[in-house]
Symmetry: C2
DNA sequence: CTGCATCCTTAATGATACTG
DNA sequence: CAGTATCATTAAGGATGCAG
């Protein structure tokens, strides 16, 4: 007998791969991965780079990313504490697609803004 | 005098491009764009393809995508109603990066699941 | 400095019923 | 069929204070 390879499909509501998609198709994840693209960074540095993110959200998102094997967390036993986060090999494979989304957002924002204006100016009826 | 080109940067909390990133770096957006990759589709078809999405969420997400110029909505004056959604030229440029995320989720789910097990099995202290 | 705990507010999502 | 409206629930996010 042969072992069957499960067919993962994000379009299926209960497929585990959807939980993974939910994590990576997320604005905070995208910005954090982009922020870590240049190499390891400390907690405070990431918080500064990803402007506007709260400590709580950064902390929990990093924990989720660590849990999914996308980043590593290295705590140095110093005082005051120093903690570094770094993309894993798996996390590195997310750099390209997530950076692409960031670039897309910047590159097409004028088109998007124009579309929004046009949509909002629509006649009500 | 010259007109200056604004520098859009998703890393800035108040940059409009971040609102655009928030829309596209989203699981529902990703799945809907993937669902529309094969061509125009009706509301009910999308709801079936993107299993588990509620009519309310699909409706509001499609409206947001239409507002941002990513999809078009065509309502035929028939009874019962028929409405078709289709990617715009702008929306087509999202197919590749968003499909990449879906593929990533399916392709790496086993690694991710293993990482989760490992993380959850950690000694508490 | 890096977080966690707590409290609070807002946004997202779900379920159901209903209309053109 | 394709929504909208409503109600209820859950999740996400922000602010502050505190501990190691």
């Amino acid at each position: 007998m042969e072992s069957t390879t499960p067919v993962w499909n994000v379009m299926l509501a209960t497929c585990p791969s959807r939980t993974s998609l939910a994590r990576i198709a997320n604005k905070w994840t995208a910005m954090i991965v982009i922020a870590l693209s240049d190499g390891p960074a400390r907690f405070g540095t990431i918080r500064d780079v990803v402007a506007g993110i709260s400590g709580k959200v950064l902390s929990s998102t990093l924990r989720d990313l660590e849990r999914d094997g996308i980043v590593t967390r290295t705590a140095y036993d110093e005082m005051p504490p120093r903690v570094e986060y770094e993309l894993t090999a798996l996390g590195q494979t997310l750099r390209e697609p997530l950076t692409a989304l960031g670039v897309w957002a910047e590159q097409h924002i004028e088109e998007v803004l124009a579309a929004r204006d046009s949509y909002d100016d629509r006649p009500v009826a």
